[in-house]
């Protein structure tokens, strides 16, 4: 018995290499939306159709369609951009979108509330500063993460170059993006080729990250494909390759689970692209195209087994993996404040709550960054924790940049250790998947958590706390020591037991709790932790040691126990 292909497969195949009827959808004045099929294809071009969910009912009663707006996510490998690019990104955000910007957990920026007629000007605007949004969303490789560590300057540059090469290598080759948005010449039917993806692209989204130990800020184990840089005395030796990580799960469906990537082995740098292509093509051919819930690479590997998968990748790449090199990770958060790089330049990591850049009354992070960009001569690096690094600052310019950062509330120094390591996804009101609040609610929630931590003498405790509005996991909640995953309005699953370095999944501790119940649980757990912790012990590790949470060993087997 074989189930039919998923509807999205038909849409992809019929889209003629991602053109669909997007041109007609854009020209249709009667609606701010796209044709339903085009709303799938648009993702490959980097934008998602959304609507203001708070307004749905009211607008229907006024005989108005939902307030449609588009979220556009750029491709920015490793999150690096220049001050000139930043000024363009900022200007477009203020003029052609909802007026704000969001730094994403995948080291990119995204705009919200773009009207249909402004999509093209937005894409043309970022294109003028050499940024595109191809593959920002959709069933292709997404923005490639790369540790933004600017301290090991030469090594970072080398590794970041590989992140860019991987991103380029895994880009769709269709001319549709140029035709539709950049007024490129139309290419007649049949001339497009997608040597890697084919006409149906991948069964599902695909995420790649490059980590530079000891920092695991990219959460490399949460990605479909991971490269862990192995360096000797600041020189890149090669990568440990990982495959099959992924966060997404579905409430109530025990056949779904978050999963950490498995090691495939060690490769030398020159083998990187061949391995990336081989992993992608294997997933292209073996991934499940009938059931999108099980279409990610992690389920493919569960189905065929890691050894068979590795063998297939080796065959396609024409190489053998060497044994993985030993690696030690120490953290998954950011390192705030000034640090000095090996090239004697300084780097300032700013704190951006939930990555949200919007100017409010008396509070102007967007303005602050604009002013910094006007005088800054190094580059900017968006971190996988939704923060921003002002990188490559000569000693003489430190004071000026710090003054601006402080004046606009961009420094982490006044935030607690709890808050600094927080992550929250966008969720309501724009994300169509959200079941509960995240970004809008997170600051209030953290006020409460800080109050409890203070009560138990844990005010300075480092802790990774994350919140998402649904189980799909954009803010990588399953790798947090404490996470809330949205279940319904005002209700969350409380997840506990991550290790603070991104190598252990947490586990469902209590289901479908409201705020009062969540805070009561945290109050009690903080109390036990404060009384029983060992020196230097993390909250997540304590919960496992004390038996309050059982560690996840093999999520396919034991995640739902």
């Amino acid at each position: 018995m074989s189930a039919p292909l998923h509807e999205n497969e038909r849409i992809k195949l019929a889209s003629h290499y991602l053109r669909g009827t997007l041109a007609q959808s854009l020209a249709d004045e009667l609606t701010g939306a796209l044709n339903p099929d085009d709303a799938q294809i648009s993702k490959f071009h980097g934008f998602y159709q959304q609507d203001h969910r708070d307004l749905r009912q009211e607008r229907r009663e006024r005989y108005l369609e939902p307030y449609f707006g588009f979220m556009l996510r750029a491709r920015l490998p490793g999150g690096v951009c220049t001050p000139a690019q930043w000024l363009a990104i900022d200007g477009i955000g203020r003029e052609l979108t909802s007026g704000s910007l969001r730094l994403t957990t995948r080291q990119s920026f995204q705009y919200h509330g773009i009207l249909k007629r402004h999509i093209k000007p937005v894409i043309q605007g970022i294109n003028r500063v050499m940024i595109d949004s191809l593959g920002g969303c959709g069933d292709v490789n997404r923005n490639v993460l790369c540790n933004p560590n600017p301290v090991e300057s030469a090594l970072h540059r080398e590794v970041h170059e590989w992140a860019k090469r991987i991103s380029e290598c895994l880009l769709p080759r269709t001319r549709a993006y140029h035709e539709l948005w950049l007024d490129g010449e139309q290419v007649g039917g049949g001339e497009d080729v997608e040597p890697l993806y084919g006409e149906s692209y991948l069964p599902r989204k695909f995420k790649t990250a490059v980590a530079v130990p000891p920092h695991n800020d990219v959460d490399v184990y949460a990605n479909d494909l991971g490269f862990v840089a192995i360096a000797e005395e600041g020189r890149l030796e090669g990568f440990n390759v990982l495959a099959g990580g992924g966060m997404g799960a579905t409430h109530g469906d025990k056949s779904t689970f978050p999963r950490l990537a498995d090691p495939l082995g060690f490769i030398e740098p020159h083998q990187t692209l061949a391995v990336a292509e081989a992993v992608v093509s294997t997933q292209r051919d073996l991934g499940d195209r009938r059931d999108r819930v099980h279409a990610r690479l992690k389920y493919t590997i569960e189905r065929i087994g890691l050894d068979a998968f590795r063998a297939e990748v080796e065959r396609r790449a024409g190489l053998r993996f060497a044994p993985s090199r030993p690696v030690r990770f120490t953290d998954q958060g950011d390192r705030y404040g000034w640090v000095k790089g090996r090239d004697d330049h300084w780097h300032l990591t700013l704190y951006i709550e939930s990555g949200r850049l919007i100017d409010g009354p008396g509070h102007g992070p967007m303005t602050g960054l604009r002013e910094i960009a006007r005088i800054h001569q190094g580059d900017f690096r968006i971190t996988p924790n939704q923060n921003l690094i002002v990188a490559g600052v000569p000693e003489a310019r430190k004071a000026g940049i710090e003054r601006l950062a402080r004046a606009h509330g961009l420094l982490a120094e006044e935030r607690s250790a709890l808050r600094r390591n927080g992550l929250a996804c966008v969720a309501l009101p724009t994300c169509p998947l959200a079941m509960a609040e995240a970004e809008r609610y997170f600051p209030d929630f953290m006020d409460q958590v800080e109050r409890l931590a203070h009560r138990h003498g844990l005010a300075d405790q480092e802790m990774v706390i994350r919140m998402t509005g649904c189980p799909n996991g954009c803010a990588r909640p399953y790798l947090a020591e404490l996470a809330l995953v949205g279940k319904g309005p005002g209700h969350y699953n409380l997840m506990l037991g991550g290790d603070g370095i991104g190598k252990r999944l947490n586990r469902l501790y209590r289901e479908n709790l409201d705020e009062t119940a969540i805070l009561a649980e945290i109050d009690s757990l903080f109390g036990r932790f404060a009384a029983n912790r060992q020196p230097g012990e993390r909250f997540g590790d304590y919960l496992i040691r004390d038996g309050l949470v059982r560690a996840v060993v093999n999520p396919a087997e034991d995640y739902h126990d």
Partner: protein, 374 residues
């Protein structure tokens, strides 16, 4: 805004079924979709017709006027058909919200206001002055002591207001729908509310009878032949009759093509009946849509701009025998007329006289219909 009175009177007591704001809270205009319940055996209308609406003046306005003039609302007055209180006369029988130039002239004499008399001598200034004010603004700015009888003699009889009907009885047999922009603004130191629009939009309760009659509009009818294509041009609440047109043609199963050209301020705030137009298109009845939202972009674009852009297509439709309809404010109608002349000159190569002749011929052939109001 109401339209000039059609004198055909009847006084059917309709009741309000629905009063729904269809623009967003941040829209400039407060536009209401009103549904009135009627008995189809008594009241029947055809697409294109208007509904005459009798209304009562705002009690707050009546009291403010009484106070301004220091008059007693209980004072008896005579209106020719018997005696009633001054309050009732002001509320139900006399025009308070539309100031007529003759009223200004008479008040200038009563108040011995020289500046006002001087202004009243200039017809254009007088018209502009009256157009921007209600009676109470006049008496507040130029106080005078008068008695109740004089006041009643000064004011014109209350006139009903006409609204294009936004529904077809083929679809809503026992209802009549109106699209009413509630006139509301601050001026001369007080809040102003339109007479009938304020009555319908803000004051009528769901049990109060609304006295209405059908004002036939023979100059604004759908083509006899249901297969004839039609171009429907409207701005703001001028789109109302087209909702009726499409409902009627849908009910008839007519095969004619429809092209809607609609303008307003903001796509997201005041795209009146957007869901209706979407449903009509989905049902295969709306074949072309051209929209102009004047405040969405730095450059203001109106329906006439859209028509010019689509001049060639417009000519094609006219060559196919399409009827043209224009509904909305007079200024919009004039701008559309000029745009049509330009299209005929530019796309069809007609000289100015020939272009005028072309439109005259369309009009004579009952293919160019206009329903315009101040």
């Amino acid at each position: 805004m109401g339209k000039p009175l059609d004198l055909k009177h009847s006084c059917y007591p309709a009741t309000l079924l629905e009063n729904r704001r269809i623009t967003t809270p941040d829209a400039i205009a407060d536009v209401r979709h009103l549904a009135l319940s009627i008995d189809p055996k008594v009241l029947s209308y055809r697409p294109g017709d208007a509904l005459g609406v009798w209304f009562h003046n705002d009690p707050a306005l009546v009291e403010a006027l009484l106070a301004e003039l220091s008059l007693d609302g209980a004072a008896p007055v005579s209106l020719g058909d018997g005696e009633l209180s001054l309050r009732q006369a002001l509320s139900e029988r006399l025009e308070l919200t539309q100031l007529h130039p003759t009223g200004v002239r008479a008040w200038a004499d009563l108040a011995r206001a020289d500046d006002l008399s001087e202004l009243a001598a200039d017809a254009a200034r007088l018209r502009a002055y009256a157009g921007e004010r209600q009676f109470i603004d006049l008496v507040a700015a130029h106080p005078a002591r008068i008695d109740a009888g004089t006041l009643v003699g000064l004011l014109r009889p209350l006139q009903p207001r006409l609204y294009s009907i936004a529904s077809s009885q083929a679809e809503f047999e026992d209802e009549v729908h109106l699209t009413v922009s509630v006139v509301s603004y601050q001026a001369h130191g007080r809040d102003h509310l339109g007479g009938a629009s304020g009555f319908l939009g803000a004051r009528v309760g769901d049990r109060d009878p609304v006295r209405v009659y059908v004002a036939e509009n023979e100059g604004f009818r759908l083509p006899e032949d249901g297969a004839t294509p039609v171009i429907l041009i409207g701005a703001g609440t001028g789109v109302a009759p087209y909702r009726a047109f499409l409902q009627a043609r849908a009910a008839n199963g007519d095969a004619g093509r429809h092209w809607l050209v609609f303008g307003n301020r903001h796509f997201h705030r005041d795209f009146l009946y957007q869901l209706d137009w979407q449903a009509q298109r989905k049902a295969g009845r709306l074949h072309r849509v051209s929209l102009a939202f004047s405040r969405d972009d730095a450059e203001k674009r109106y329906v006439q701009h859209r028509l010019r852009e689509e001049g060639r297509e417009l000519l094609r439709w006219l060559e196919d025998g399409a009827h043209l309809y224009v509904c909305g404010a007079t200024a919009m109608g004039q701008a559309v007329h000029r745009a049509l002349l330009e299209i005929l000159a530019g796309e069809a190569g007609l000289d100015p006289d020939a272009a005028e002749d072309y439109l005259d011929n369309l009009r004579r052939a009952a293919r160019y219909h206009r329903d315009l109001y101040a």
